[in-house]
Amino acid sequence: MLEARALSKRFGPFYAVRELSFCVRPGEVLGLLGPNGSGKSTTVNMLTGLLEPSEGDVYFDGAPARNDLTAYKRKLGYLPEVPHLYTYLSGREYLELVGCLREMPAAATDRKIRRLLELFSLGPDGGARISSYSKGMRQKILIAAALLDDPPVLVFDEPLSGLDVTSALVFRDLVKQLALAGKMIVYSSHALETVEKICTRVIILRKGRAVAHDSVQALRTLMKMPSLEDVFTQLVVQEDTSRIASEIVAAIEARA
């Protein structure tokens, strides 16, 4: 089980995340929702060990992750929000590098890489440099890299970014099947509709704090709202979006 216990991150006097607690059990998909600057990425970075919490800790199977961060990372697959990749490598080479870094057996990794590239429709482009890839192709390489080692915990940060409709649908089904296979999945996204469809539970963050934490169904019932989008709007959106849109239109139409 993956747990966050009173997780906080402070940058100077400013708290990016404050006393956030949750747990993800095998087979669960936990959705992280929130507007820009709500602390989603900071939470993900702490979960993946890329950022050290100021207070609290991440626990895996009851033990603090930071006790043996390397062993913890071996259990973790991560898809970052920004697709930073070594663009002078080919997709195949990048996956090979990840396989080596995770100390996977070479021959089996090769077979797995070939198969994943084919399944992600990257077979013919596997040998081309990542610099020539589209955003969607880069995203597929990152998804393949996160899954390559078959880790029990998966952290996806905006995984649908750049994917076409078919690939997005495939990915949605993939997440469901991974959950059925007993993976623990943290899914951070702005795409409320997808989160509503695949997540077992959601945490809604605002200004670094959890303002809601429950199953989608329970949240809808509790807030008496028909959809997650309405729940989110009620809890997080404090501005009159329609008024702002009207003002933008007025600004661009202004002549003198």
């Binding site: 993946t48 060990g49 890329l50 390397t70 062993a71 990372k73 071996r74 973790l76 991560y78 970052p80 920004v82 930073h84 990749l85 070594y86 663009t87 002078y88 490598l89 080919s90 080479e93 990048y94 090979e96 590098l97 990840v98 396989g99 080596c100 870094l101 995770r102 100390e103 996977m104 057996p105 070479a106 013919p124 482009d125 596997g126 040998g127 081309a128 440099r129 020539s132 589209s134 890299a145």
Partner: protein, 579 residues
């Protein structure tokens, strides 16, 4: 009451061409090859100072030079002036050629330009005009800087005493025309090469070959700059040059700076069949390269913009069966651990493919090749091994290893190092194993493959074995020194700006290289004297290895590596400003 804003014109008065030209011009300085950190102005200022340095040396050199020239007999004096003219023109051509080569990727619009500027209502003509203007401004500035000393001081010192006002002016005029012609020739030669390649090759092939052409050109220009101080005295002064010129030797006729030096001489009034022929070559070459550059560049420009997107959709090459078999064999034999394989592959991929790293490493190799060329071109290979001949592989080895170590410190796509931060779980020692092997593959192994057969052909099989063994032993010790305290995976650690002081680095490198090459060559010469002496070297080396390896592992384990963040220098420099 009308406000201040009402007085402003409706639209910006800066034309799109000018705005774009400024943008392209600034972008020339934001080149990862010119600046390794976020301070392009500082990097450019350093570069300008380095380029201006030879010209400014004239200030100190001129009084003595002037007196020496005045005392010379006329024929010897003219020859000396010709040699100096050759030097300045070669320097200028190499500098401008190198700068144009460093901007190789900026000469034509790239995919990003197409994506950003393509949707804007700007015609290709405007883009082209802006690009040409920016390039002219950038190179023009460096033309002035590189020639700052020679354009003025050289003619003052070299104008013949007998010359009247008109002849004196002609001398100045001849020198300036030759400088402009030579500079333009060097720049346009690079542009023409790129233009021809773009038009002749398929986009994918061009994309693949282009980095290697750039590296080769940059290494050649850099090699010329290093060779220059050694050349005039040997090639173009004294009896040897007289005879070469008289014989109209190919060695003279093949050198473009000689054409332009002869053009300067002709315009200054020194006539003769050889000078006239060489000056004719200069005019023809300049005209030819201008035509080719203009034609191909114009043709390439629009085509390249379109192609840059089309080529993105093309598939990459698959590994050949031979390559797959080779990699499989490496895995089974030399690179058994996944972590060392990761470090090995990543190091070699980055050295070979990252433009910045390849060019920096290439610079060290180019300097080494130029020094070896200058030292050996007149050296007889016949007879037994000499200290001078034996030092050459050590010069190359030293510069290759220093080069590798220097480029290891420059990060490659730093934000992408999350892959290492996240996935890397092995100890630093196991990554260092792979790194050391990559260093062997990039430096000592090719050098051994090159020099050992040469030694066998020249001095016999047993001498080749001794040479190979000593070179390998020296390489091993040097690699251990080079990676001492390097608790990182190459190219993945942040870089603190100003940490590597270029002038100090090169000074230490030059001094170190001289001491290293001569002492290691002496050691090899001693070992070659008697094959048994090799055992005397091998025995202590084996003993040291037995002690060193466990100690190194202990140090690595204590280091807390791999390190991904270089600590900032926390010292505060007060500079007595507190009053």
């Amino acid at each position: 009451m009308p406000s201040f804003l009402d007085a402003l014109p409706e639209r910006s008065t800066v034309s799109p061409t000018r705005r774009l030209a400024n943008l392209f011009y600034e972008r020339f300085f934001y080149n990862d090859l010119l600046s390794t950190h976020d301070d392009p102005q500082l990097a450019s200022a350093n570069l300008m100072a380095i380029l201006a340095f030879p010209g400014l040396l004239c200030l100190f050199w001129i009084p003595k030079y002037y007196v020496t020239l005045a005392r010379m007999p006329e024929a010897a004096r003219d020859l000396a002036v010709f040699g100096d003219r050759f030097f300045w023109l070669s320097f200028e051509m190499a500098v401008l050629g190198l700068l144009t080569t460093l901007q190789w990727d900026r000469l034509l619009p790239d995919r990003r330009d197409y994506m950003i500027l393509g949707p804007q209502p700007v015609s290709v003509r405007v883009l082209f005009e802006a690009q040409v203007k920016a390039l002219a401004k950038f190179l023009g500035m460096f033309f002035v800087i590189a020639n700052a000393g020679s354009a003025l001081f050289f003619p003052i010192a070299a104008v013949p005493k007998r010359a009247g006002n008109i002849e004196g002016l002609l001398f100045f005029f001849g020198h300036w025309v030759s400088l402009c012609g030579a500079g333009l020739f060097a720049v346009l030669l690079v542009i023409a090469m790129q233009g021809v390649l773009t038009n002749v090759l398929r986009p994918k092939l061009f994309e693949r070959i282009s980095p290697f052409v750039q590296s080769l050109l940059a290494a050649s220009f850099l090699g010329i700059i290093v060779l220059l101080p050694m050349l005039p005295g040997r090639v173009l002064s004294g009896a040897a040059s007289v005879s070469l010129l008289a014989k109209q030797s190919f060695a003279i006729f093949a050198l473009p700076p000689v054409w332009f030096a002869a053009l300067g001489e002709s315009l200054a009034g020194r006539h003769g069949a050889v000078f006239t022929a060489l000056a004719g070559s200069a005019v023809l070459a300049a005209a030819g390269v201008t035509l080719v550059a203009a034609g191909t560049y114009l043709l390439s420009y629009q085509r390249f913009m379109r192609r840059s997107l089309e080529s993105a959709g093309q598939h990459g090459a698959r590994d050949s069966q031979a390559a797959q078999a080779f990699r499989g064999a490496l895995r089974r034999t030399w690179l058994k651990e996944p972590s060392e394989r990761a470090a090995f592959l990543f190091t070699l991929w980055t050295l070979g493919r990252s433009r910045q790293h390849r060019l920096y490493f290439g610079a060290f190799l180019a300097v080494g090749a130029a020094i070896v060329f200058a030292q050996t071109w007149s050296l007889s290979l016949m007879g037994g091994p000499s200290l001078r001949l034996l030092s050459q592989p050590y010069i190359l080895l030293f510069l290759a290893l220093v080069g590798i170590r220097v480029v290891f410190a420059f990060p490659s796509d730093l934000p992408a190092n999350w892959a290492f931060r996240f996935h890397a779980g092995a100890t630093i020692e196991s990554y260092l194993k792979g790194t050391r092997k990559a260093v062997w593959a990039a430096g000592p192994i090719p050098l051994l493959a090159l020099t050992t057969p040469g030694a066998a052909m020249l001095w016999g099989f047993s001498a080749a074995i001794v040479h190979g063994a000593v070179l390998a032993l020296v390489a091993w010790i040097t690699i251990e020194f080079a990676l001492w305290g390097f608790w990182k995976i190459p190219f993945t650690c942040s870089y603190v700006a100003g940490r590597a002081h270029v002038i100090i680095l090169w000074t230490f490198t030059a001094v170190g290289m001289l001491v290293y090459a001569s002492s290691m060559a002496s050691l090899e010469l001693w070992a070659l004297g008697n094959g048994w002496r090799l055992l005397l070297l091998a025995a202590p080396a084996a003993a040291i290895t037995a002690v060193w390896r466990p100690y190194r592992s202990l140090l690595a384990a204590d280091s807390g590596g791999p390190i991904f963040d270089e600590p900032e220098d926390t010292r505060v420099y007060l500079m007595n400003l507190s009053g």
